[in-house]
């Protein structure tokens, strides 16, 4: 036998464990999503100040295509579509955000309570959320919004929020049910914690990721719904949003007139915002369930230069040289 001096005499000190938050931001999907989202949020805030025109103001160029003067072209009244899309961002973001907040709060109230407390009340709450889940959302929303006399952006947001909490509540309830049985909850009880403290400080923090992903999901849903409602003409009247732009485009038969610029920017903005939100959602999902993490390299180079894919069931072999010849 040969005594071979160790090759790995010293190993670098391990990098400090990254805190969870950082890990979330480190997720490339989440980062891209957040960046796009931030861009839209910025537009929502400063949009009305930076736009070149008042979105409702009529101009002399009727139905002109994109030009240096009107980046996204003009409407049949000579309104600047770029300004409409930019100004419309605020309403979209506000609805998404408020509806998201309202639905999230409701889903937490209903979901966590019905999950933590046992008994008839809990069953009732769960039945209620199941009912809301099964009722088709858009038809319900159409009926409700056309019921309301005044549909401002805010009411739309509230209505969406009030009707779309059920999904979140269900997920939270399931999570809470599983948390309720966890030892650390029982342990907190055995330590003598009060019920409200248990719900608030022991259960809720563990649901953060689920709540966050539910929030993002609701925002996506609310944004799409608002735009859809505006598009079919039952949404908020006064405020500009991307749906209103599309509504006008549709009612003026923009596509038939060849005015593609009237349709395309708002549609792409929706898809972009939706994608950004989805990416954030994936980020959260992956953050919650590490198994979904797609990040990291999945293709590896073997010693002889081939590239193989890491996959379940067939671990790649990088090299076959048994480093210690002669033993």
């Amino acid at each position: 036998m040969t005594v071979v001096p160790s090759t790995a005499a010293t190993t670098p000190v391990a990098a400090p464990v990254k805190r969870r938050r950082l890990r979330f931001v480190a997720n490339p999907k989440a980062t891209i999503g957040l960046a796009v989202l931030g861009f839209f949020a910025l537009l929502a805030i400063i949009g009305p100040w930076i736009v070149p025109y008042d979105p409702s103001e009529r101009g002399n160029d009727l139905l002109h295509g994109p030009s240096g003067e009107h980046w996204f072209g003009t409407t049949h009244l000579g309104q600047d579509i770029f300004s409409q899309v930019v100004v419309g961002t605020r309403s979209v973001m506000v609805v998404g955000f408020i509806a998201g907040v309202v639905a999230t709060i409701l889903s937490i109230l209903v979901g966590v309570t019905s999950g933590y407390l046992a008994g008839a009340g809990s069953e009732l709450l769960s039945a209620l959320s199941n009912v809301f889940l099964v009722l088709p959302a858009l038809p319900l929303m159409i009926i409700i919004t056309s019921t309301l006399p005044e549909t401002s952006t805010l009411t739309i947001a509230l209505v969406i929020g009030l009707t779309s909490w059920a999904w979140g509540a269900r997920v939270l309830r399931a999570q809470t049910l599983s948390l309720r049985g966890r030892d650390y909850i029982e342990a907190a009880r055995a330590t003598g914690e009060k019920t409200w403290r248990i719900i608030l400080f022991e259960i809720m923090p563990n649901l953060t990721a689920v709540i966050a992903s539910g929030f993002v999901g609701t925002v996506i849903f609310a944004v799409t719904l608002e735009i859809t409602l505006a598009f079919i003409g039952v949404g908020a009247g006064g405020d500009w949003n991307w749906g209103t732009v599309l509504y006008w485009a549709q009612s003026q038969q923009a596509l038939a007139q060849g005015a593609w610029w009237w349709f395309v920017p708002a549609g792409l903005a929706i898809a972009l915002l939706g994608t950004a939100l989805s990416l954030v959602n994936f980020g959260i999902d992956e953050f919650v369930s590490p198994r979904l993490r797609g990040g990291g390299k999945t293709n590896v180079k073997t010693a002889d230069g081939r590239t193989v894919r890491m996959r379940v069931g067939f671990t790649p072999v990088l090299g076959n040289s048994n480093g210690r010849e002669g033993s």
Partner: protein, 367 residues
């Protein structure tokens, strides 16, 4: 007659917590045809359990998986309401402690350590949070921030998590299993309890870490004179750490006594099987006896009489008819101070005449 095995209240060993005829049934949902009948279905998880915890002593509870050990602990911690029987703390019956204030007062004196150190700490809170809460709830945090800091340091030192600063702001996932287990213990100690109910505190741990935790418990018992209930299915560790040991089978206590006596001279056929089955490197493989066959009984429809009778090699007719009471097992050596050794098995029934006994034992001899 049956000997009720009230432990001799000698010297330092006053009874702190005692359970008499403790019973717990978990109702189960009916299904199918049962919906029509009026019969109540229940998991009879704990049936008529009597045990005492003494100041400054460790009492072990062993038995197979699902025999109701954890349920006993949770009953003693008043996390479940009991179906029947009484629990007395210092001779005073505790009842209905489920209600807020009374429960907190009780939990100050009786604390529980949960089975799984990986599950019993909330992953989102730091060690500091866990311990501060325990101190605060029971008013042990002191008045000022410095007092509280001192109390925390003291707690961590007590469970040998030193230096305390290194651990105090860590999250559970940053700790090893043994360290977590110690935090759990520290949390229980934060309430400054008299009784510690430790539910399999080491089952999830590595052999080397396991030993550390057990030594810690032993140390606590000796220094703080705690009454400790130590639940495990590792009988060897019960032998080493517990002063006395109770054996449970299918919801009932079948044997109890000084640990050394129970582990070295098991009386009940189930205890014998258990000890037989425990891995033991000192035993040559050939010496093995053919013992364990059959599955543990259903707790919904437990066997009549002694619950072990379907699997028992010595089963007699009476075993399937009447629940055996506790019979005293005479000690080999006249150790007066020890807790009396008993077994709930008809084989040791002295109410029967010698002739009857002989008759009853016949099947055993036939084997």
């Amino acid at each position: 007659m049956t000997t009720s095995t009230a432990p001799s209240a000698s010297g330092t060993t006053d009874v702190v917590l005692e359970a008499d005829g403790l019973t717990k049934h978990f109702p189960v949902r009916k299904r199918g045809r049962e919906l029509l009948s009026r019969k109540v279905r229940a998991v009879r998880a704990v049936e008529d359990v009597t045990l005492r915890l003494h100041r400054g002593r460790v009492t072990a509870l062993v038995g197979e998986s699902g025999s109701g050990k954890s349920t006993v602990a949770r009953l003693l911690a008043q996390l479940y309401p009991q179906t029947g029987g009484t629990i007395k703390l210092h001779g005073e019956a505790v009842s209905d402690a489920a209600s807020g204030k009374r429960f907190r007062a009780y939990s100050k004196r009786v604390q529980m350590i949960f089975q799984d150190p990986f599950a019993s700490l909330n992953p989102v809170h730091t060690v500091r949070y866990h311990l501060t809460r325990a101190l605060k709830i029971h008013g042990n945090a002191g008045k000022s921030a410095t007092e509280q800091e001192a109390a925390l340091t003291h707690l961590l030192t007590r469970v040998q998590l030193t230096p305390p600063e290194r651990y105090i702001d860590k999250f559970p996932h940053e700790l090893s299993g043994g360290q977590r287990q110690r935090v759990a213990i520290a949390r229980a100690l934060g309430a400054d309890p008299e009784v510690l109910l430790a539910d399999e505190p080491v089952s999830m741990l590595d052999v080397s870490i396991r030993l550390g935790v057990l030594n810690l418990l032993k140390d606590l018992k000796e220094r703080l004179h705690l009454a400790i209930l130590y639940i495990t299915h590792d009988i060897a560790s019960a032998r080493y750490f517990a002063d006395e040991t109770y054996v449970m089978y299918a919801g009932r206590v079948v044997e109890g006594g000084e640990s050394e006596a129970v582990t070295q001279r098991p009386a009940h056929p189930y205890t014998q099987l258990l000890i037989e089955s425990a891995p033991d490197p000192d035993r040559p493989a050939a010496q093995e006896k053919d013992g364990g066959t059959g599955e543990p009984p259903s707790l919904i429809n437990p066997p009549e009489g002694c619950r072990f009778n379907p699997r028992c090699p010595y089963a007699m007719k009476v075993c399937a008819e009447k629940v055996p009471p506790r019979f005293a097992i005479p000690a080999d050596s006249g150790d007066g101070d020890s807790t009396a050794h008993f077994a709930a098995c008809w084989l040791y029934g002295d109410g029967l005449s010698e002739a009857d006994k002989a008759k009853l034992r016949e099947p055993e001899e036939a084997l």
